[in-house]
Symmetry: D2
């Protein structure tokens, strides 16, 4: 069973391979009468687009999105929104090697084992190119959420170098191609990544995404929890190996006293003195910022040969040729934001359906 | 939108509140002609049952499971399997306090905000009691998977005390009530938890679950990845704040060279030299052990008063009375195993449906 | 793939076999704070209960419903509502015959072919006993819809004897055990059915269900149409072989002029001069009465021997013994109403989720 | 909640408006390694294409399908198949009238009531143009089913003129543009329809679809019945007002003796002496031909003015201008076949998933 859809009320289906004619998505369930045109989506795609710094893959794609349905006279109609991006940078090249030699750490061997066939060109369906459509869908989700919900992401760790949270400045994020929120960490990362790149190596990262202004009450027991849906959504991003909410794994070392989020009424409003919970209790949003982090592994496409096998079962050593992506965590920042936006939009509609406001 | 079902082909729906007459689940989609009786389920429930050591809540429940449908003459029939456990330890007590005073860190305030009503007795729907039905469903899932798939879990960290992985012995797990796999860590944990308990405090933990014998090819692109479904399933367990697969968050600090899992053919079989990936590539199982870990926060029910509010918006300090659970991570071990079993059973059927074997 | 759930936002899962210990259902997604107790459900179950006239099966079941979850202090909580009915009339008898001899027209042979096993006692899962849970769920759905939506059903044809629509009186329906709305048809049906019963024969019927007060705007393009979901729901009732909306099959013989429903504004309200459409256009409710009819086949349990085969592949003649149900269409009336109620409740929540009111 | 997807394992999502840039669909869950190219789909689209006789709308569309994903080197890969058809015949015209005046019997008023907006050009999403994608998906479904399953459709009634079933010749269907299987009915229909067309009127029809070679065992209890899924699928086709299986509504007039399908073993195979059931018992296929019929209403686009209202609530009389479709039942024949193919492909995979063969 293939499953290329997520969401219940705000449902996103993506399709397309890295080197096919196009990639696209269908967004079903979007509320009507939301102003929407390609200009609402394009900036987010531009933000994710590769080739913007030397630290990401040099693939060049215009990533021009077309809206093929579901919008009429500048507004959503409530019917499915079909988005399409033509693939333009499909270099003609000899795929002979990649067709038969499994790249270690890639989905190559897994797809072949499962399906007995795979579109090996550029990774086919398993390519990170698919994430462009997540970003496009996320742009629509942001419109559903409205201006009151603000979703931001940042890289908070590159290899061994984590930011100092005391220095975290969200406004810094969009001023540098590494989505770095710590002015002092930035030069360290740049130097570190330049070295990684020079060596033909790669490195992992941690990305944080946060939503402010989320209404309290989104999410639901028991298998529709806001945080479990978010975990699914973030873990489905290519190369992600871990997801955490609020304190996350650090909570394992905390006592109940340390992890408590005291509550008080202030001016008739419920206030929390801290946010160890990351904005969710019992799977339901509390009105505090929703905070999630995810770990991105180093890409396995490195210039060091790694033992592997061929489709025919022969031992070979495989080394990446051509484009190289020293830190895939970078481009995961806009993707993580988009997934959070989609999950929130879905839960907003689900909540409204059951509870009515 | 409430959502108390998970799985696509092997679907589990749970229902019930902590202090209602019963809890239960419906398992739909189970293949026919699988030998099954209550004796296949009861041992797993007994393993999760509270009150078995001083380190878990002293609630006493027989947790006797009844099979109400879907089994005939000792075999599954392919129709829905209804399981039911009567709640027997519903102490008559005054719930006045808990009814109106929100316990910090609990779902109390979130449920009330969302629904405007909650069954406050013992936590109602948000109680960990619900996890008994996950364990019951997991027992059925194990039968679907067959003897070739072995799923085990262990606690690998309690508060600041992690096991030494070089000493990890799976066989040790079932010999102690802490599901500890490290003989030297065990006395440390016992002493540490005794102290936590004496103080009326609580502490977090990390649980690891592993499945061996998983056929290669389970899982699917893109939103039906084995690891993203597993992330959803594990994050949905009460008090879980983080999930990771294979290296997980540690992968953020690794280079591509360090994180590589070299492949070789051995005796006509594909072998991996390491398992940083945790048994899954591109969302599809590789045949290696499937390895996941999750972080469990410390329970917020502690004997230290914490600032909180009442339903009516008054400031109060709330302190747990009565039963106390110093480390909810302990009982999460069988629950984590069960969730992994359910996800694998679901994907086994999903794969067979699409690919045919 | 077994599938014992229907609905998206208001989801009903039923389970249980005719002669197992109990049958039940789980209703997930019900809005919170709806007053509900067993007394809201029982009258509808009593209405469906067999053995109330000589024209239905003489099985005697108290059909006492228990609410096991999802209701607290007389109100729904938004969590899953578990309903259970104990089977009390499980006559001890020798099932030897039915176990091995397929009853023609029954699901026996189909279940065995599919699953290789079946609970043959009383038809097991395929028994009409399952419809009790539909009626129970329908009672909850009516509460969700509120008093403004009125759903009624009637038998409009028994064998060759259709009612005269000019004489249709809805108030008559609940005054007779045949749910007959035509005072002149009633004695004809009674005589006809008495004859059918005496002969050990059976006869088909047509049931009409109608909902008044349905808000305009429920339903959705394209595979979530109100009428296609209703068709699914009604066709899933045991023995149903046809479903139609509004004019239904009669529309095939009409011209566009004859089938038109002229519209006019009256007192600021949209009014239709007729209702050939049956209350739905483009899959969306118009505010007119929603009208559906379904055909129920004659039960195949008759006293005349019919050629059949055994499980082992031997030719036999099979004749029904014991209880006999001359017209299963009768009891389908409350079931049809319940299914319409569930579909409408689901669409009410779906609409509110997407569109917001 | 909008819902533009159907199927569980073989899932079809369609999108697009009549006069937008394109229409399309995404088929998810298709098994891998099935030979597929546009040439497998185009002939079915050509069969549905309007403008092929004077009895259907004169809209001219090339309906050239493009495969954008999911196929590699002539075979399906198991990943989503995206199909796209550009809209070429979008006449530039003044839509002023249709934008504000609701066409009686159309979805115009319903969409506006629900969404507060609609793409009124050519009916937008509610246009029968959407059915082209059903036919395209059906072509893929046929490949999944394989050559052993043969699905055919025919028109069996036009207005008051039904075929004589004794004369039914399936081979005749593809020799005439009315999909008529009765050589004597054909000239009657032609004359009748010519008259309807001349008058600017329209007329309803009944279509029959049949699948032979369906394996026994497809379908499932209780809300995944083969016939209830088929009812949903057929009722979702534009203008369909009724669906029946086997005897359908005629079963209401039959006795149990008349409706019985006697069984016998012949040469080790189960044989039925008749097929009143239409190939399905208890929601599960029996191996007999699967037979369904559906009623198509007359299109409401007629040249006679019908009282209606405007968007602003003024009374008007509305008359169709431009293209005119005297009998939309004609083009429903290939659509009905396609829907049956999709439902069967879905159930084939669902069955294999649960039962394993």
């Amino acid at each position: 069973m293939s499953y290329n859809t997520f969401g219940h009320m705000f449902r996103v289906t993506t399709w397309g391979e890295s080197h096919g004619p196009a990639i696209g998505c269908v967004i079903d369930g979007c509320p009507p009468r939301i102003p929407l045109d390609a200009g609402d989506i394009q900036p987010w795609l531009d933000r994710r687009r590769p080739g913007q710094s030397k630290f990401t893959t040099q693939r060049q794609e215009a990533d021009q999105v077309e809206i093929l349905s579901g919008v009429f006279e500048g507004q959503t109609t409530g019917t499915p929104i079909s988005l399409l991006i033509r693939n333009t940078d499909q270099r003609s090249r000899d795929y002979g090697d990649i067709a038969t030699r499994y790249r270690p750490g890639h989905a190559d061997v897994a797809y072949d084992t499962k399906y007995g066939i795979r579109d090996y060109r550029g990774g086919g369906r398993s390519s990170a190119r698919e994430t462009a459509m997540r970003v496009a869908a996320g742009a629509v989700a942001r419109k559903v959420l409205g201006a009151g919900v603000r979703i931001r992401g940042a890289m908070v760790q590159v290899g061994p170098h984590a930011i100092n949270r005391a220095r975290l400045e969200w406004d810094l994020v969009d001023t540098n191609p590494l989505f770095c929120p710590d002015a002092q960490a930035l030069p360290v990362w740049e130097e570190y990544l330049a070295d990684i790149r020079k060596k033909g190596s790669s490195i992992g990262a941690v990305v944080e995404v946060m939503a402010e202004g989320v209404p309290a009450g989104l999410g639901a027991p028991i298998y529709g929890k806001l945080d479990s849906d978010l975990a699914m959504a973030l873990m489905s991003i290519n190369a992600v190996k871990g997801v955490e909410i609020g304190e996350g794994f650090a909570a394992a070392s905390l006592t109940g006293e340390e992890n408590a989020d005291p509550m008080r009424m202030e001016d008739g409003q419920l206030r929390f003195a801290s946010n160890h919970a990351g904005g969710v209790l019992g799977g339901i949003s509390t009105g505090q910022p929703l905070v999630a982090r995810f770990a991105v592994k180093p890409t396995s496409s490195i210039l060091t040969p790694v033992p592997s096998v061929t489709r025919e079962g022969e031992n070979v050593d495989v080394m990446t040729k051509g484009r190289h992506d020293p830190c895939v965590g970078i481009r995961a920042v806009p993707v993580g934001e988009a997934m959070m936006a989609c999950v929130l939009a879905d839960h907003l509609l689900r909540h409204r359906g059951q509870v009515g406001s």
